[in-house]
């Protein structure tokens, strides 16, 4: 067990190049345990690419990713998930033709112990684990408020509930750090308020939240610190109020005044 560090995630000079394109350019940032940290920036600023580098979908061209005191640069996605980073996707990626309950139970996969022989012969400990996991999955569906839809195919859920299901599925992996990629995209104002409440509830579980979000109301409402990316570079960092007044940030969003 590595010593509990103050920072749950540290990125040091993280760079990701695709051929000639520098998607993430020498970005360093650190996220403190138990905070809500937001990553904002105009479209194409490299926010999702940064997420993908953290979760192992991409290998960084240069730089380091340290999670919970452990260097996870270049780890595989499933290893990262096992260590305790869960994520949602900008364009929802649920298992469409599986029930909501099964979607969440897949999230529990990494914390389950049944081996192939246990499953083949339905040994008692496998049965017990399955029952326990089903209970836990139902608890999570209740937590995000879609328990009633447990037996529906994920694809048949309305959009807002799909986003919630994705969060429940991510929570099922018992993460220490939850990465939310534009969780409020396409939400009504009412849904946004509910989402903010949900994020606060997630915090009470002792989970650190790192989110990408466009909606300034959401960002200002829940996050304690913000980093702004533009063209892959970090152009500002700080509490919401400071960042909002930052000249560079205003320029990035609104363009330079003539």
């Amino acid at each position: 067990m590595p010593e509990a560090t103050e920072n749950i995630l540290e990125l040091t000079n993280l760079t990701k190049r695709f051929g000639g394109l520098v998607a993430v350019d020498n970005v360093s940032l650190h996220i403190k345990r138990g905070e809500v940290f937001a990553l904002i920036g105009p479209n194409g600023a490299g926010k999702t690419t940064l997420f993908n580098n953290v979760t192992g979908l991409f290998t960084p061209t240069a730089g380091r990713v340290v999670f919970d005191g452990r260097d996870i640069t270049g780890s595989k996605p499933h290893q990262v998930a096992r260590l305790g980073i869960a994520r949602t996707f900008q364009n929802i990626r649920l298992f469409d033709y599986m029930t909501c309950l099964d979607n969440v139970r897949v999230g529990r996969h990494v914390r389950m112990h049944a081996k192939i022989w246990d499953s083949l012969f339905k040994l008692p400990r496998e049965r017990r684990e399955e029952e326990r996991v089903t209970e836990e999955a139902m608890e999570l569906l209740r937590f995000v408020g879609i328990a009633r839809q447990a037996n529906q195919y994920a694809r048949n859920l309305p959009y807002g509930q799909q986003r919630r299901l994705e969060i429940a599925r991510a929570l099922a992996t018992d993460p220490k750090l939850l990465l939310l990629d534009e969780p409020a995209a396409g939400f009504t104002p009412q849904e946004k308020v509910e989402l903010m409440q949900l994020v606060k509830k997630i915090l009470t579980r002792g989970i650190t939240v790192f989110l990408i979000e466009h909606d300034m109301k959401v960002v200002m409402g829940i996050s304690e610190r913000i980093v702004v990316l533009d063209h892959g570079e970090k152009i500002a960092e700080g509490p919401p109020d400071e960042v909002r007044k930052d000249v560079k940030v205003i320029e990035a969003y609104l363009g330079k005044s003539a």
Partner: protein, 415 residues
């Protein structure tokens, strides 16, 4: 969990189909013996059909559950069959090994399974990084290599001459059953049929000796076991991981599923059922030839899986039986049926050869596979998801937790 009422059980479609299939499997030998006046020809057909059912159940794990298109499935079938053939015939005596090996069928069944699974891993390891079409092409290649190898390694596989004289399964005398008729009593003194407790005394054994009823009983038991095991897997951590990979590999990986090992397991388990089927196939025909494992076998099994309903075990079993029936009973008898139909309807002229017209019999025979194709197209048009597509698992509906939750929420809504 409370015991379910009979009515609820029957409402569950899959359970009902399992019930019907089991009942049919039990009644079939008696009915067919009665109808055909004691002939076991139908039972022999059914025993062959069982091989295909096993194959379809196995391929369903790969294609239906994990979503990996495997076009070379017959290769694993061949590996299972050759494994049994080599270790249960005189073949190894004429090989560079110069020593016959005769292992009992019951052990070879498992060895064949593990050998095929091993080859599944061997093939899967380098290829499972490929996706979709690319994987299909590589498996296609593998499916071609195996029969070619068995052609070209005659000192081991007998090449084009095949391996014949493969041992029959036997049962010790104390397990007598209706399938072991008195004329099948054989004292096998090569040591394979000794009393395990008393190595000096030989016991009489009941050999299967080409008795189709014995093979029928055997395959029904094998399928029964296979269905239970695959069902268990389907409703487990591993089964969900397979489906997650099928639905979205990136999301599955992000949820902590090691996609490479999970896909390998699908390949290995699919292959192991094929190896199982292969050993049985070798025993029932007592002959294993490279011609039995060509591309058409892989495709036929794939058709059974897709047409039956990918991902659904009952659908796949029914699909296998339907296709087997069409290919082996319906199509071959079509020509003579058409001929006699023309006779009874008075169109006898159709049956005689005139000029370019070869006669109805020959014409229908020529069009057999056109008709087969039409049947396939028709079924897929009418039921694009297969005969019995997989549905939301009704099992889950019955889960107490879910029901509780639903009623609690409803009560909350009413209050």
């Amino acid at each position: 969990m409370a015991r379910l009422h009979l009515r609820e059980r029957i409402r569950d479609r899959d359970q009902a189909i399992y019930g019907i299939l089991l009942l049919a499997a039990l009644l079939f030998p008696m009915v067919s013996l009665f109808v055909s006046g004691g002939s076991t020809a139908y039972i022999a057909q059914a025993a062959h059909a069982g091989t295909w059912v096993l194959l379809a159940i196995g391929l369903n794990v790969v294609v239906g559950f994990a979503g990996l298109l495997d076009l070379g499935y017959a290769a694993f079938f061949a590996i299972g069959a050759y494994t049994y053939a080599l270790f249960a015939s005189a073949q190894l005596g004429s090989s560079p090994l110069h020593h016959n090996i005769h292992l009992p069928f019951w052990i070879m069944l498992f060895i064949g399974m593990f050998v095929a699974a091993g080859f599944g891993v061997l093939l899967g390891f380098p290829t499972l990084r490929l996706r979709g079409d690319y994987l299909a092409i590589v498996t296609l290649g593998f499916g071609e290599i195996v029969p070619q190898l068995s052609y070209n390694l005659p000192q081991w596989t007998g090449g084009i001459n095949a391996i014949g004289g493969i041992d029959q399964p036997w049962l010790p005398a104390w397990i007598t059953g209706p399938w072991a008729g008195a004329d099948n009593v054989a004292i096998i003194q090569n040591g394979s049929c000794r009393n395990p407790l008393d190595q000096t005394h030989f016991l009489p054994c009941f050999s299967f000796s080409f008795d189709p009823v014995a093979f029928y009983v055997l395959i029904v038991i094998l399928i029964f076991i296979a269905v239970i095991l695959v069902n268990n897997l389907y409703r487990s951590r591993l089964g969900r991981a397979w489906m997650a990979i099928r639905e979205d590999e990136v999301a599955a990986a992000a949820m902590g599923i090691n996609t490479v090992t999970t896909k390998l397991l699908a390949f290995a388990i699919g292959a192991s059922f094929s190896g199982f089927a292969g050993a049985y196939y070798g025993a029932i025909f007592s002959l294993v030839s490279p011609d039995d494992f060509f591309f058409i076998v892989s495709i036929t099994v794939l058709v059974m899986v897709v047409l039956g309903g990918m991902g659904n075990i009952t659908g796949v079993i029914v699909g296998a039986l339907v296709i087997y029936f069409v290919l082996n009973t319906l199509l071959p008898s079509l020509a003579s049926t058409a001929e006699s139909l023309a006779n009874t309807l008075g169109f006898t002229g159709l049956n005689t050869q005139q000029g370019d017209w070869p006669g109805l019999y020959a014409e229908v025979q020529r069009m057999q596979f056109l008709i087969f194709g039409l049947i396939l197209v028709l079924i897929m048009l009418l039921r694009p998801q297969g005969l019995f597509p997989s549905r939301v698992r009704e099992q889950e509906l019955k889960h107490a937790a879910v029901q509780e939750e639903a009623s609690a929420v409803e009560e909350g809504a009413r209050a």
